[in-house]
């Protein structure tokens, strides 16, 4: 039997209006990688914030090494050897790596001045000890996200942490960076005798790295089991409370007219470099066209051009056979395009605004929501808001709730609800389920399929090949701003798509099957 | 957004300090309520060691000699307070001394509302209101002497002036000063800069430094508190300055060679006596020029190092005589 290191007993946490944790009992063993998994808003982060001293529990006790521990602030937690790496990094971008690592307990020179050279030395030694590749003198802002994360971990280790809590560490990482991170974690545990708690909602990662896994749902701990005994299906069931299978979606045969067509379009990115280099394709009513590609190959810009958010430098753009000359967001919306943007927080929503305000966008100048030209008809607006909240199962207290207080999945549902409610003939959807939990993903997929079956023309851009393969009728691959291939779904394998997405094979533009 | 808001708040803080003068204890309550109550309303703030402080000295002297009691109402150059402070002063006192050309409109309005109160108005001219006596100074005459003195002292043939604002009162100083200088030396160069502020020594210093760098070696400051910056610049550059309103030599006797004194306090004091003795001509303007000894030059006290030689003083007395006689006609900006 493994040695118990941390015991959380009967932890409950009450926030105004929400019981975030309810009687949670959790044991962490020494030297293990323990994954805590659950849907967005299940209470994982709250629980760990309690352990790290950011919140005080409403009730319950924490034992470390069998002794009762009072953790009232992160300082107490650090004293107990607990360190936490947050989902959003707490680094100062204009300072160097070394300065960030030692920040808070700097080596001092003459009592008052920070000893910069010593800080560099400390950081170098630390990095060597744990096998991290970082230059202590580099400024944080010049580093990639993956390296920044390593700096965060270094910072925690510098404070002498033996127990590391990582909150959604892979959310911002590329697959390669994720692999590297996992190697680092394994090394910390096996060579350095550390204990790691990792919060995530990605099943594959849990199975890949953890020794034991605890599942949380709606503030409660559902159970803890050794990872060997777990598989994706068991964990999913525990997380959502019902059996969710990524079963095939009902697909009606809808034949349609060609509603959107682009010929040889070109666009530049924000730095002025050409990122779309002559892209052509067409989209029919009642079909889902998936765009598969490794991120950064022009998909984002393609979506922006089609929705009028980015300048169309060259090429032709037709909707219902008519050439569009004035490509701007308002015009494209009037022509019947709805858009689910890839990043809901920067573009799809206003965090500070209420639910009803977020759901209104795009209709604020349209009857019956506005009368006498400018007067907002709150009655009609609220009616629609409440209907959408119900229809799309958005979990919110009321329509005045600020969107920033919703969980990621519910935020995405707000965007989907708004854009789908316009009944636009064309839907341009980017990364519809990024950072969204399993239950919400299933819901969103069903909604997309419903739209298709109702006859909408849908362009789907996603970094998740599984998603593209599940939903699309046709798939095009994009590589370095050009289309490299076009396939009927079910007639292509993941492996083949991968070759086209990485430019190793190229059909070029010869295969338009009109 | 947060960052911008923070910057804005700093600006608000800065802006609010602009309207903050320094303040001294102002109420001098006597024991008996039967004493004559005098109010002194000033457009700026006390502590300028110049115009307003001079007026304050006048009422203080009246308190010592005549046994009145008084209160000071400061407006700190806040146009929105002119009316309010004057109203409060009128409700308190039977004699209200109003100092600052800025009160031109409100003093006429308020004086009509309080017919039982006497108003002594300094720095502008209003006629025809029975309970309003205005005191007007011939700044141009005093400045003529200052100009003549500056012309006698300069070695670079260039003299300067820092004005508080480009407004009629200050221009009246300016024309007198230039005329006086030209009277001594036809080819003299006079450099004038307006600081656009009566309360900011930093601006005064900036202006003075600019003028010194153009070759001037003596500057006449007509800028209230702003003028203190002129003295500082003079000290740093080893140049000279002429003070204004009160005899300012005591501030720094090594650089301030003399002052053009506007005897504001004295004239207020005199007028209070006249009102008490019922000798006043109602609704009149009282002129204080060289003849009435309302303006003139101050050379400090004897223990200070004297830059102005006896010969110069004699010459200046001679000029003064000629102005009083009308042999020299001093131009005016009014």
């Amino acid at each position: 039997m493994a040695e118990k290191l941390i015991e959380l007993k009967n932890i409950s946490k009450q926030f105004p209006g929400v019981l975030a944790n309810s009687n949670v009992n959790l044991t962490i063993n020494k030297g293990e990688i323990h994954a805590i998994i659950g849907e967005n808003g299940a209470g994982k982060t709250t629980l760990m914030n309690i352990l790290y001293g950011l919140y005080e529990p409403t009730q319950g006790e924490i034992f470390i090494d069998g002794k009762k521990a009072v953790i009232k602030s992160p300082l107490d937690a650090i004293k107990q050897g607990i360190g936490m790496v947050h989902q959003h990094f707490m680094l100062l971008p204009s300072l160097s790596v070394a300065e960030n690592v030692v920040l808070g307990s700097e080596p001092k020179k003459k009592k008052f001045f920070m000893d910069y050279d010593k800080a560099i030395e400390i950081t170098k030694n630390l990095a060597q000890k744990y096998g991290f590749k970082v230059d202590p003198r580099e400024k944080i802002e010049a580093l990639s996200v993956g390296v920044q994360q390593r700096v965060e971990i270094l910072k925690v280790l510098y404070r002498g942490a033996d127990i590391l809590i990582l909150d959604e560490p892979t959310a911002v990482l590329t697959p390669q960076e994720t692999d590297e991170l996992f190697n680092v974690i394994r090394k910390l545990v096996s060579d350095m005798n550390k204990t790691v708690i990792i919060i995530t909602h990605k099943l594959q990662e849990v199975l890949a790295i953890s020794d034991r896994v605890s599942v949380m749902r709606q503030g409660k701990l559902i159970g803890t089991l050794p990872t060997q005994q777990a598989d994706a299906k068991i964990l999913t069931e525990m997380m959502v409370g019902k059996e969710v299978l990524f079963h095939d979606l009902h697909r009606e045969k809808v034949s349609g007219e060609k509603v959107l067509e682009v010929k040889d379009i070109k666009a530049k990115d924000n730095r002025g470099l050409t990122v779309l280099n002559g892209v052509s394709f067409s989209l029919r009513a009642g079909e889902i066209l998936g765009v598969a590609g490794v991120e950064g190959n022009g998909q984002s810009e393609l979506v922006e051009v089609l929705t009028g958010l980015r300048n169309l430098e060259d090429g032709d753009y037709f909707i219902n056979g008519k050439k569009i000359t004035d490509v701007n967001p308002s015009n494209m919306r009037n022509l019947g395009i709805s858009h689910v943007p890839e990043d809901r927080l920067t573009m799809g929503l206003s965090k500070e605004a209420s639910l009803w305000e977020n759901l209104l966008m795009g209709l604020q100048h349209k009857k019956p929501f506005v009368v006498k030209k400018i007067h907002l008809n709150k009655k009609k607006i609220f009616e629609r808001t409440d209907n959408l909240i119900k229809e799309y199962d958005i979990r919110a207290i009321d329509r005045y709730m600020k969107v920033k207080k919703l969980s990621g999945g519910n935020m995405q549902k707000v965007v989907i609800a708004r854009e789908f409610s316009f009944d636009s003939p064309i839907l341009i959807i980017a990364q519809p389920t990024r950072g969204v939990d399993v239950g919400a993903t299933e819901f969103i997929h069903n909604q997309i399929m419903r739209k298709r079956n109702e006859g909408a023309a849908i362009l789907l851009v996603s970094a998740e090949l599984d998603e593209i393969m599940r939903l699309s009728d046709r798939i095009i691959t994009i590589y370095e701003g050009s289309i490299t291939g076009e396939f009927k779904n079910k007639e292509v394998t993941k492996q083949t798509l991968g070759l086209y997405m990485t430019g190793k094979q190229n059909k070029l533009k010869g295969s338009e099957d009109n | 957004m947060k960052r911008k808001v923070a910057i804005l708040l700093v600006f608000i803080l800065m802006a609010s300090t602009i309207f903050t003068g320094c303040s001294s204890s102002k109420t001098q309550n006597g024991d008996s309520s039967e004493k004559t109550k005098v109010a002194l309303v000033i457009a700026g703030g006390l502590g300028d060691r110049s115009f307003y402080d001079s007026a304050h000295e006048g009422v203080e002297k009246a308190k010592q000699d005549l046994g009145i009691e008084y209160k000071v109402y400061e407006c700190r150059n806040d146009a929105s307070l002119y009316n309010d402070q004057l109203v409060q002063a009128s409700q308190y006192a039977s004699i209200v001394a109003v100092v600052g050309y800025e009160f031109y409109d409100v003093v006429q309005e308020i004086a009509k509302e309080f017919p039982e109160v006497y108003y002594i108005y300094v720095d502008n001219e209003i006629e025809g209101i029975d309970n309003l006596i205005t005191i007007s100074y011939a700044e141009n005459e005093g400045s003529f002497l200052a100009g003549a003195l500056a012309a006698m002292l300069t070695k670079t043939n260039t003299i300067g002036m820092v004005g508080g604002m480009d407004i009629p009162v200050i221009r009246n100083f300016q024309v007198g000063y230039e005329a006086g200088a030209k009277y001594i030396n036809k080819d003299i160069k006079v450099e004038t800069i307006f600081a656009e502020d009566f309360e900011d020594p930093a601006k005064g210093k900036e202006c003075a430094t600019a003028i010194y760098s153009r070759g001037a070696d003596i500057i006449f400051q007509v800028a209230g508190k702003t003028g203190e910056g002129v003295f500082e610049a003079a000290k740093e550059q080893g140049k000279y300055a002429i003070g204004v309103d009160t005899d300012q030599r005591y501030i720094n006797p090594d650089v301030i060679v003399a002052s053009m004194v506007k005897k504001v306090g004295q004239s207020i004091y005199d007028t209070i006596i006249k009102i008490q003795n019922n000798e006043i001509e109602k609704g009149k303007v009282i002129y204080y020029g060289l003849k009435e000894d309302g303006v003139g030059l101050g050379y400090g006290t004897d223990d200070m190092k004297q830059f102005v030689t006896d010969d110069m003083k004699a010459k200046l007395d001679e000029i003064k005589e000629m102005i009083v006689n009308g042999e020299i006609e001093v131009p005016t900006a009014k």
Binding site: Q59, L309, T346, G348, S350 | G21, L81, D84, V87
Partner: protein, 359 residues
């Protein structure tokens, strides 16, 4: 009513009230250190601001320009464009009104006054349009340009009133007095409170309606909160920012107009003691909420009026109020942190209570 309550940001109101309270306590301590009684000081301040009809009128007279500049600030800040040029727009608006008042002297009041108001608003709006267009067309930071244009406006009007438009009556750095028909009627004897307060109230209601109840206000808010989201939703963000800027400038211009038509009856070289800055403070205190702006403007107006009376009555210097205001400013700057502390405190207390009942 319950619907209305839900929209109110209660925790912010509490933290603001707490900030004000703490600032007043610090003010009281300063009085004590100087050997004055805070009780006498604050009661003099209060009665100076509200104690009589005259005092109340004076407080409201001070409120008029603060409400207008405050709303001007609020509408621009809410739209994500920062108009710090209120002072300059106020000066130009005031001069424009005075120009009408001394030029078209024979117009009857019902034409002249609206003309002066509209012209003043127009001039203020145009003066804000300049930095606005520089911002949306060339991405030149509007904070910098508007601040600099303040100085330009103050010095330019200073030139105008000392040379081409200088009065010939008495020594004043102002224009001639505007024609009698332009004078707004005074409402309370001795006080400068005048009918502009009715104009102001009307304008405030219009701005409230615009900001809270219309699609235009919705567009402003969305552009200010998330410009990308607004663009994505089909709002012409640049146009909205420009419109907000012009409205903001027009409101500040009108603040100047009413100082001329109602208070001074002429343009004065230093006509504003920093109204736009106090208005901005009102707006920041109210988080750009139009109703809050009006309340905060009254609060600041009362502080100002009361402080002068307090100084005259008790010889506690009115600068004390500056200190109090500065402390409030600091609290607002640290509002986020302060509020979180407050919430934390509350939770701690609650959890303690829960612990006691458990034990």
């Amino acid at each position: 009513m319950r619907e209305a309550m839900k929209k109110i940001n209660l925790s912010y109101i509490i933290s603001l009230a707490l900030s004000i309270f703490v600032a007043l306590i610090i003010g009281a301590l300063i009085m004590l250190i100087n050997g004055k009684s805070p009780f006498i000081g604050y009661s003099a301040l209060f009665s100076g601001a509200f104690g009589s009809k005259y005092n109340l009128a004076t407080t409201f007279a001070k409120t008029v320009p603060l409400v207008l500049t405050g709303l001007g600030t609020a509408i621009s800040f809410r739209s994500g464009i920062f108009n710090i040029g209120g002072e300059g727009q106020l000066y130009l608006g005031a001069f424009a009104a005075a120009y009408i008042g001394i030029t078209f002297t024979s117009l009857p009041f019902f034409i002249g006054i609206p003309l002066a108001i509209i012209f003043g608003a127009l001039v203020g709006g145009l003066y804000a349009f300049l930095p606005g267009i520089l911002k949306v067309k060339y991405k030149i930071d509007e904070v910098i340009t508007t601040i600099m244009l303040n100085t330009v406006a103050v010095l330019f009007t200073s030139f105008l009133v000392n040379y081409p438009f200088a009065t010939t009556q008495g020594k004043m750095n102002g224009t001639e007095i505007i024609a009698q028909s332009y004078h707004l009627r005074r409402l309370v004897k001795l006080s400068t409170l005048n009918t502009s307060i009715f104009f102001m109230s009307f304008i405030a209601i219009v701005i409230y309606y615009l900001m809270e109840k219309t699609s235009i206000g919705y567009d402003f808010k969305m552009v200010g909160q998330n410009r990308m989201f607004a663009r994505y939703g089909g709002i012409n963000d640049k146009k909205q920012m420009l419109i907000a800027m012009v409205i903001s400038g027009a409101l500040c211009g009108m603040a100047g107009v009413f100082e001329v038509l109602g208070v001074h009856y002429r343009f004065l070289q230093s006509i504003s003691p920093g109204y736009a800055w106090d208005g901005m403070l009102a707006s920041l205190m109210a988080k750009n909420n139009p109703v809050g702006v009006v309340l905060m403007a009254i609060f600041l107006g009362a502080l100002k009026t009361g402080s002068v009376s307090m100084e005259n009555a008790t010889s506690i210097p009115s600068e004390l109020v500056m200190v109090i205001q500065a402390i409030i400013v600091l609290f607002i700057a640290g509002e986020a942190g302060f509020k979180d502390k407050f919430v934390l405190l509350n939770i701690k207390r609650k959890s303690k209570k829960a612990g006691e009942t458990n034990a």
